[in-house]
């Protein structure tokens, strides 16, 4: 574990240690200098290397595998096939539902998507494994594949009744509305595209398994490994000190993880398996492709009477993924009549998964474009129509918002952007060969809550250690937990060391859905508070303490020194007190669970998502909110779209560290620009195979594509959302960027592009 140099980080404003201070990332220097060791960079004695062989068909059966050439190739230790890999038990899913099959086969005989793992070669070196993997011959009996949602064989799919949301009589109200718009909006298959690929090192010692793997959820993945290999949960140790980007993709133990762990067991040697870049596009799911139709009926004054929404997302032949497409549609605007329904369609793909703001992101693309179309139809300003239909309370849950600073976001964003100077007609603003367009859209993300625990240790020298099995994938956990402990204990932030990413530390649930900061600041706050109480208790009551004769009721700790509130009597550093009372450390564990929670419930809480707390629990509906204002320039000849300005005003409640929050918001906005203009998994329809699965051909925005981005925080502390008043940060800002850009493109050109990404051929 790298110990981060806090002094380096603590450089840019007063009171950095306070929650809310702009402390720079404490892990930054380690990452920039290369000192940070990522999970599968560990150097282990006797390490072997595994390389996967992927199916070259999208559907059918493996009829034979000839591994002889590979087996006799230099350095090869084993070739694993569906016929030779050890048997694994089925594992329960992330909700804790028991497995549908008693056994689990990470190398398959029945192929359901192109690239699915059918074999693996383990060799002494990586190069030997790569060379031998190319020698494995696989024969198939191919059957027709359903390549994507537009495949004629795909059909209408399976209705997901749990997604239905209805009130009033939406269809009738739509039919009667004096002004109506109805359009279809599509988003393609997109990928998380983290810089760090997926992969792991697995090592067995007897029946104890250690896994070094980038992970957004140590406890959940450890549970999966334990179930696969029928060993106690405690026997699995998952280590994930840093994560080079996850964006939703690194929360589950996957087929390749199982292959590596099984290979390590079978060979009794540690095995390293890292997916190559193309495999990162086929071994786990990106965002499912989606189709939505949004129909809005309104009065002539712009008041919405009805919204009718239908959505479809793709899922896998042998796995279910529901991308909740009505999530934003159902809460963004007040409407007396509403209907949203959703189907999923099985296609031959790896099971789609979570990518930043799953559900909310494509949902907002539909409704936030549709409302812009309605504004145009009515001759209203796109900002005005949003205010006319402002939802004063959650129209679906029928509860008050805990906090909703969206009106403030519209006002602050519009002011900073200069929205009032917008010329309303499309194609009315230009600069030389460039059409200029201004667009607006709103975004939202629910406040997902859960429970976590943390250990806080005060050591003999007065320094503080925080331990948690939660993780930092760049969002700033190391930093805000150091700030939380420093503030709660009253010590300088450079005296705090945060240790994360080891499943043997105090437990934490999944890092996803922007829940971690709220959960873990709460847990650290509690553990640190208990440690402080213990420290003060010792100082007041221990016979060896110089404070004992003071007869004070309490003491205060400030800047790492302990004294009476009014300053009379002794003034000691924490270290001096610890040595005076002869203690080498104080250790407390704090969690946010009710005291009555049973051990089984605790296990379930950390290893499944079944105990997440609904965002509409109790009297309130809890969401983060944002408003994006975007300027685009569209070349009149080339159809190329460049984003030239972004101003976003965001309500994430109280910010634990504004610098880190801004950086996450900007990351979300940048990802949204990529989604709007560039990203698309392109499938060869004959083979059902992604053909642009690499970073040269799967387009992500470069620095040159990103303008200056201004973010404005309009949040206020939300006591109903978290212990310290924060709401979600990480997922929020991507929501609404793509529609803001699409709306700006319409304003620039008069052309409505409803299929993402907005590439040049759609505009020329």
């Amino acid at each position: 574990m790298t110990v981060h140099d806090m002094k380096h980080a603590a450089s840019d404003s007063a009171r950095l240690e306070a929650v809310g201070g702009r402390l720079s990332r404490v892990d930054g220097p380690a990452k920039i200098t290369g000192a940070a060791k990522y999970a599968f960079e560990q150097q282990l004695e006797g390490l072997t290397h595994a390389v996967l062989v992927g199916a070259t068909i999208a559907a059918g059966k493996v009829t034979a595998i000839d591994a002889r050439a590979a087996e006799t190739a230099p350095g090869v230790l084993a070739v694993l096939t569906p016929y030779t890999i050890m048997e694994l038990r089925g594992a329960s899913d992330w909700l804790g539902n028991p497995p549908s099959q008693p056994t689990y086969a990470p190398l398959v005989r029945e192929v359901t998507f192109s690239g699915q793992h059918v074999a693996a070669v383990v060799a002494e070196t990586f190069e030997q494994a790569v060379a031998a993997a190319a020698l494995v011959k696989v024969w198939y009996d191919e059957t027709p594949a359903i390549v994507d949602l537009s495949d004629g064989k795909a059909g209408d799919g399976i209705p997901i009744d749990a997604m239905t949301k209805e009130w009033g009589d939406a269809e009738a109200a739509f039919a009667e509305a004096p002004v109506r718009i109805c359009a279809a909006y599509n988003t393609p298959r997109e990928f998380q595209a983290a810089m760090e690929p997926h992969g792991l090192i697995a090592r067995w010692e007897g029946d104890e398994l250690t896994i070094w793997e980038p992970s957004q959820w140590l406890d959940g993945m450890a549970r999966t490994y334990a179930e696969w290999f029928s060993i106690p949960f405690e026997n699995v140790r998952l280590v994930s000190p840093y994560i080079g980007g996850g964006f939703g993709s690194k929360a589950l133990a996957l087929a390749h993880s199982a292959v590596a762990a099984a290979a390590a067991k079978m060979l009794d040697r540690p095995v390293k398996l890292v997916l190559n870049r193309p495999q990162n596009f086929t071994s786990y799911g990106g965002r499912a492709a989606t189709r939505q139709t949004v129909a809005i009926g309104a009065e002539r004054d712009g008041k919405i009477q009805s919204i009718v929404h239908r959505g479809v997302n793709e899922t896998a032949v042998d796995g279910m993924w529901v991308e909740p497409l009505g999530s934003v549609t159902s809460i963004m605007y007040a409407t007396p009549n509403f209907s949203s329904k959703q189907n999923v369609v099985r296609v031959n793909t790896v099971v789609p998964g979570a990518k930043r703001a799953p559900g909310e992101n494509p949902s907002a693309f539909g409704i936030e474009c549709a409302i812009d179309e309605l504004a145009h139809e009515l001759g209203l300003d796109p900002l005005e129509i949003r205010l006319i239909n402002y939802a004063e309370r959650d129209p679906h849950a029928r509860k008050a918002w805990s906090t909703r600073q969206l009106r403030e976001a519209f006002a602050a964003g519009a002011e900073a952007f200069g929205w009032a100077k917008r010329s309303p007609a499309p194609r009315s603003m230009r600069d030389g060969h460039q059409f200029i367009g201004w667009g607006v859209a709103a975004g939202t993300y629910p406040v997902r809550r859960a429970h976590g625990e943390a250990v806080v240790k005060i050591l003999a020298d007065g320094s503080v250690v925080v331990e948690s099995s939660s993780i930092d994938m760049g969002q700033g956990t190391y930093t805000i937990l150091a700030q939380t402990a420093a503030e709660t204990l009253g010590v300088p932030v450079e005296n705090v060391t945060v240790k994360l990413g080891d499943s043997h530390f105090a437990r934490a649930g999944v890092t996803g859905g922007s829940r971690l900061a709220g959960v873990m600041t709460g847990a650290v706050h509690k553990a640190a508070g208990q440690a402080l109480d213990e420290l003060i208790g010792l100082a007041l009551s221990d016979p060896r303490s110089p404070f004992q004769k003071l007869q004070a009721n309490t003491l205060v700790v400030r800047d790492g020194r302990i004294a009476s509130p009014r300053g009379e009597g002794p003034d000691l550093s924490i270290g001096e007190l610890m040595s005076a009372v002869g203690r080498d450390h104080i250790e407390t564990k704090g969690d946010t669970l009710p005291a009555s929670t049973t051990p089984e419930e605790r296990y379930k809480n950390y290893t499944t998502v079944a105990m997440s707390i609904p965002h509409t629990e109790g009297d309130y509906s809890r969401y983060s909110w944002c408003a994006h204002f975007v300027e685009v320039r569209v070349d009149e000849d080339f159809g190329t779209v460049r984003v030239s300005r972004v101003v976003s005003a965001l309500d994430s409640g109280r910010l634990y560290n504004p610098k880190l929050a801004e950086s996450q918001w900007k990351g979300g906005i940048i990802m949204g620009i990529g989604q709007a203009l560039l990203e698309e998994g392109i499938v060869d329809r004959r083979h059902g195979r992604i053909v642009n699965g690499n970073f040269a051909d799967y387009m992500l925005p470069t620095n040159a594509d990103i303008p200056d981005i201004q973010t404005i925080s309009v949040g206020i502390p939300d006591p109903h959302s978290s212990a310290l008043g924060g709401k979600g940060v990480g997922e929020l800002a991507i929501v609404g960027i793509a529609p803001a850009i699409a709306n700006a493109v319409f304003h620039a050109t008069g052309k409505r592009v409803r299929d993402l990404p907005i590439t040049l051929e759609k505009l020329i």
Partner: protein, 327 residues
Amino acid sequence: MRDFSYFRADNIEAARNAAALPGAMLLAGGTTLVDLAKCGVAEPATVIDISHIEGLNAIDASADRALIGALAKMSHVADNAEVKSFFPAVSEALWQAASAQLRNMATIGGNLMQRTRCPYFRDPANFPACNKREPGSGCSAIGGVTRGHAVLGVSEACIATYPGDLAVALVAFDAEVDLGERKLKVEDFFLAPGATAEQEHDIRPGEVITAIEIPGSAAARRSTYMKVRDRQSYEFAAASAAVGLELEGDGRTIRDIRVALGGVATKPWRARAVEDALKGKALDEATIREASELAMEGAVDHGANHYKIALAPRVIARAILKLGETA
């Protein structure tokens, strides 16, 4: 591992001798070769490292000509003051190519020899059919994903786009490639696929590119490279044009014009029909736009690349108009 032998050539003779061996491939900056080796496309028996040969990286440019050594780095050539003044299209083609990191590694010789980005060509494990890799095996691209494929110079055997930028500028200004025993026009050095998609260059075993030479001209001095793509940087051209312009003394009649296209053809494509239509004409937007359309004579699309037929003439026209504005 896939074994190969490594040979470090200290001089050009040694490189030529080694390059004559079967299965030998030259290694310059390695940005194409290593990439293709990872994809399983390049499987050299011998890798001949020419990157240490001295005297092959010189850049000697003046108004009369530019002589650029094969081992000169893309970034150095792009940044060279004389190249910028006398051959701006060459500098612009280079700095808009690839990424800063790649340009710092990649050489001019290697740049001419870069291979197509056709995704089927680059994925032998999944797409065995590719005439460029395996003559006679067929073409996986036709009928597949063709958004980046060529519309000019295509054949039934292959529709792969020549992806490079620099060569487009070289073709526009009649540059030559020096192979030691032979010197060829860059335009003739590149071969359209015809029935022999595997032959991309007129280069023989044992030949090594030592330099390129670009004759100076008024058109080269007043030139530009315009590159259009979805992403602002680090992407190959959807369509590009290298254009040079020389006007008569009246400041509006076109005396000489050079037009070459990238991103739309199977080789760097000289658009002579456009040049011929504009020589002697006034520099006028409507005339330019109309003449630019002539570049697409004989264009054939395969579905998703249809947009290139509309796009390429606009790129030509805009490049000419841009030069017209910068009198």
